[in-house]
């Protein structure tokens, strides 16, 4: 089988891998690079559990081909914390009990970070619409919205 060499940056580190032409970025992250934080919930871009940033843009890694990562910068949940220092979103998700099973959490954290990067002071409705592409079946979203808002407030210094 023909493979494609890919050179990319993941969470700031240069990585190189070979992938099949039809292989998704999600499969490459999980199976070739050992980054299993992004999850496959649907494989069709409907659940957001595989949300990552490609050059700062929020995408479902299951809808991106691994070969498209060539020369790009990828950010995943594994890159959110600085060593043992959690990102405020991560801390508030724990403190606000915004996760139960936790399988959607990596995608929601990446998506929420992308929101706050664009809009540091969103309304509840903006949070709910921004996260509408990230399914959570455990929480009913209530505590997630609160966690995003309390992290946003902290990041604004409010």
């Amino acid at each position: 089988m023909k493979t494609i060499p890919v050179s990319t940056k993941v969470n700031g580190d240069t990585v190189e891998f070979l992938c099949a032409p039809e292989e998704t970025l999600l499969d490459a992250l999980r199976n070739r690079l050992g980054l299993t934080g992004a999850k496959e919930g649907c494989g069709s871009g409907d659940c957001g559990a595989c949300s990552v940033l490609v050059d700062g843009r929020l995408v479902c890694a299951c809808l991106v081909l691994a070969a498209e990562a060539e020369g790009a910068e990828i950010d995943t949940v594994e890159g959110m914390a600085a060593g043992e220092r959690l990102h405020p979103l991560q801390r508030h998700f724990i403190d606000s009990a915004a996760l139960q099973c936790g399988v959607c959490t990596p995608g929601i954290l990446v998506a929420a970070k992308a929101l706050l990067d664009h809009n540091p002071d969103p309304s509840d409705e903006e949070v709910r619409y921004w996260l509408a592409g990230n399914l959570c079946r455990c929480t009913g979203y209530d505590k997630i919205v609160r966690a995003v808002q309390s992290a946003a407030a902290e990041m604004r210094g409010a």
């Binding site: 999980r30 009990a97 509408a132």
Partner: protein, 747 residues
């Protein structure tokens, strides 16, 4: 049930909200779920599934697949020896079809190959010769004589004659004189309802990694709600001894009842045995929808009589459920739960299960209850409308309470229904003004709750910290609540306790994480294990002090001399006892094994405001409040989380979610795009009010809380929509086309 001698109600730690122990793993991506592990030499397994709703399998030719480079094993139904007992045999046949495919998506063969791509290519080379058979999808159609028979010879003896062979079971519950009760009624309402099958919709698809050697020993890693159940079912299907199969539960990405059985695990074991290498199988989302357990779908008739002043005089329900292509007992639970919220002199429920060519039902939060209670609570609401009565007052007037003989038999002990209804009545939500096209609905909900077989071991490390070893996958924050109960009982800080979920070789049998049992039963066993450890610490200290064991007592996390006659000794704390234990007789542990009864029933009441758009038929949920009795909320954040999550799943069930079948019997919406679960922008905040009416069966008064919250939303929303739209809706989901149709039929 076993009543506790003393229920503790004053706590130092239980009832607080410390961070969950698995939090950091889950926010950093480190937590290991079913699909997140690999093994050296691992193969990828893939399953071939029937495209037909019902077909005889005439032959399966796997030669070309086996010949493909990189394919290491192929299995079909012929590779499985069917267990003798009916339950395990059905599970086995559901995992791999034998002589017939019973639904669209039924597994017919599987391959293991060096990569996922090769495995996929191999599936295309398997030739299955089918003889397509007539199929039946709808429960009412399946019950009629002459319907295509899904499986012959499966009916229990108590099924009345004159029905299709698809009808597998019949049940009946209740008491009193129905005819006399209906004679006393001023108004009688009789309605028929239908509910669609829904899926639990956990975000993590089923996944496992199996490694089986030629010596008959195996290790299995999988996402499950019950590793011991997986062990026992897989051992039965594989013809193994249980102790030779070690099952480790991964972190679980949602279950809600749907991961209480096996689908791919026996297949991965069979492939691994044949290939001699570890095999990983991860389902795709369409496989989850097509081949794992949705709920039953139902057709229900309810008839209730009421006096002018709101007293229910008689009530009956006829419930027809289908649990898919196999016999299913869920209707029994619906028939028992239907009228649980009411104190009735005359009540009767009748249930039937009929097989259809749909996937085998799996539990989904309070299985069977949401459908039945939806129908009952809709009729109660309509009676209130007809008689001009307040629906909350009517429920208070008729509410089951301590001493009520329940509609399903037992007499209730301490229950929280009345307190929950009173809390709803006192809440500002109940009297808030409504605008045009808006309606308010409410419903009671109920679940039995369960205890079951449970083992807990508590080990004291020499540094005075404590490990709790338990055997139930943590699906809603249970490690936090179990650590809290251990810390409370031992009088040590929460962060000195670590609770781990052990594999099947590391602790005794634990029943599945189901029946809302974990905080109740594992909590109870943890408290008892702590008391066992305390007794051992007391004996140890008495020995050190050279006094009788009954001359010491445990208080505030330390052993003290029990009164002035025992002698003057400075108290010894748990940490001091643990530190010196190597020199005073060795390590100290406590343990407890129990088949716990006394799981107190749980009641909830939901209040909801909706707005129905008369142009589009779309419903917007405006405000939602959940009231529920938790007995004692050990970690209130995660009690609220259960209440909110269950409510939102119920909102999805009420408004959007359904299994849609084509004429060909194939599932038309096996993906999250077309099977639409609620997303954040669909919903308002979900307010929660926790009531705490102690369960007399738990040392801290705890009741399970996980299942009840999905019960009330169906009727609460149906009642709100019906009031907003001015027409009674009787079919779920209340999707926009259905609401428009009801509006136009009304004129």
């Amino acid at each position: 049930m076993t009543r506790q001698d003393k229920i503790i109600r004053e706590f130092k730690q239980v009832g607080t909200r410390p961070p969950r122990p698995d939090g950091i793993d889950k926010v950093t991506g480190r937590a290991m779920y079913g699909a997140d592990v690999t093994a050296p030499g691992m193969l990828w397994g893939k399953v071939l599934r029937s495209p037909h709703a019902h077909a005889r399998i005439l032959s399966i030719d796997t030669a070309a697949a086996e010949a493909l480079e990189g394919v290491k094993a192929v299995v079909t139904g012929a590779d499985f020896t069917l267990p003798e007992d009916e339950f395990s045999r059905d599970v086995a046949v559901n995992c791999m079809a034998q002589d017939a495919a019973l639904y669209d998506g039924h597994a017919v063969a599987a391959v293991a190959a060096v990569s996922e791509a090769v495995a996929k290519a191999a599936l295309k080379l398997i030739r299955v010769e089918y003889e397509v058979l007539p199929h039946v999808i709808d429960v009412d159609a399946a019950m009629a004589p002459g319907a295509p028979v899904v499986q012959p010879g499966r009916a229990y003896e108590n099924v009345p004659e004159g029905l299709s062979e698809n009808v597998t079971s019949h049940c009946e519950f209740g008491h009193g004189d129905l005819a006399a009760g209906f004679d006393k009624a001023d108004v009688i309402v009789e309605r028929s309802f239908r509910t669609a099958a829904t899926h639990q919709g956990y975000i993590e698809p089923h996944a496992c990694l199996a490694a089986m050697g030629g010596d008959g020993r195996a290790d299995l890693w999988c996402c499950t709600q019950g590793q011991f159940h997986v062990r026992e079912v897989c051992a039965a299907i594989m013809g193994m001894e249980s102790s030779q199969l070690r099952v480790t539960a991964s972190e679980i990405g949602g279950g809600f009842g749907g991961k209480t059985t096996v689908f791919v695990e026996p297949v991965a074991l069979a492939l691994s045995r044949k290939a001699g290498r570890p095999v990983k199988i991860v389902m795709k989302r369409d496989e989850v929808f097509r081949a794992t357990g949705p709920t039953v779908h139902s057709s229900i008739d309810v008839r209730i009589g009421m006096t002018k002043d709101g007293r229910i005089t008689a009530a009956e329900a006829h419930l027809r459920y289908s649990g898919g292509a196999f016999p299913c007992g869920t209707v029994d639970m619906g028939a028992q739960a239907a009228f649980a919220a009411y104190d009735l002199d005359a009540v009767r429920t009748f249930g039937w299960n009929a097989m259809t060519n749909r996937p085998k039902e799996a539990a989904y939060r309070a299985p069977g209850a949401p459908q039945a209670i939806y129908a009952v609570e809709s009729v109660v609401d309509e009676l209130c409308q007809k008689l001009g009565l307040d629906p909350l007052e009517v429920r208070i007037l008729n509410a089951a309470r301590k001493g009520t003989k329940s509609a399903y038999g037992p007499t209730f002990d301490e229950i929280g229904l009345l307190a929950t209804l009173e809390a709803a009545k006192a809440h500002p939500h109940y009297t808030a003004p409504l605008g045009p096209n808006q309606g308010r609905g409410l419903s009671c909900g109920f679940w039995f709750n369960f205890g079951g077989n449970t083992c807990v071991t508590m080990n004291l490390a020499f540094d005075g910290t404590v490990t709790i070893t338990e055997g139930n996958p943590d699906i809603g924050g249970s490690r936090a609540s179990i650590s809290l109960m251990a810390a409370e009982e031992l009088g040590i800080p929460y962060d000195k306790v670590r609770t781990i979920v052990a594999d099947t070789a590391s602790i005794g049998h634990n029943d599945i994480t189901d029946g809302s049992r974990v905080t109740f039963a594992v909590g109870l066993a943890t408290i008892e294990a702590a008391r066992d450890a305390i007794a051992r610490m007391c004996a140890r200290v008495a020995k050190i002090w050279g006094i009788e064991p009954d001359a010491v007592e445990w208080k505030d996390g330390a052993v003290h001399p029990a009164g002035p006659n025992a002698g003057k000794f400075p108290p010894m704390s748990l940490a001091e006892i643990a530190e010196t234990s190597p020199n005073t007789g060795g390590p100290i542990a406590g343990h407890h094994e129990v088949n716990a009864d006394g799981a107190g029933v749980s009641f909830g009441v939901h209040l909801v405001d909706v707005e129905v758009d008369p142009e589009t038929g779309a419903t917007k949920v405006l405000r939602y409040t959940v009231f529920q009795d938790a007995g004692k909320a050990v970690h209130p954040d995660y009690v609220e989380g259960q209440m909110q999550g269950g409510a939102v799943q119920g909102i999805g069930w009420a408004l959007n979610e359904e299994y849609i079948y084509g004429e060909d019997g194939r599932l038309q919406n096996p993906g999250f795009l077309d099977y639409r679960v609620p997303v954040a922008s669909d919903l308002p905040d979900i307010e929660t009010v926790i009531l705490e009416i102690p369960n007399p069966g738990h040392p801290y008064g705890v009741r399970g809380v996980g299942e009840t919250p999905i019960v009330p939303p169906l009727a609460a929303i149906a009642n709100a929509v019906s009031r907003a739209a001015g027409v009674r809706l009787t079919e779920l989901p209340m999707s926009p086309p259905r609401i428009l149709k009801a509006l136009s039929a009304q004129g």
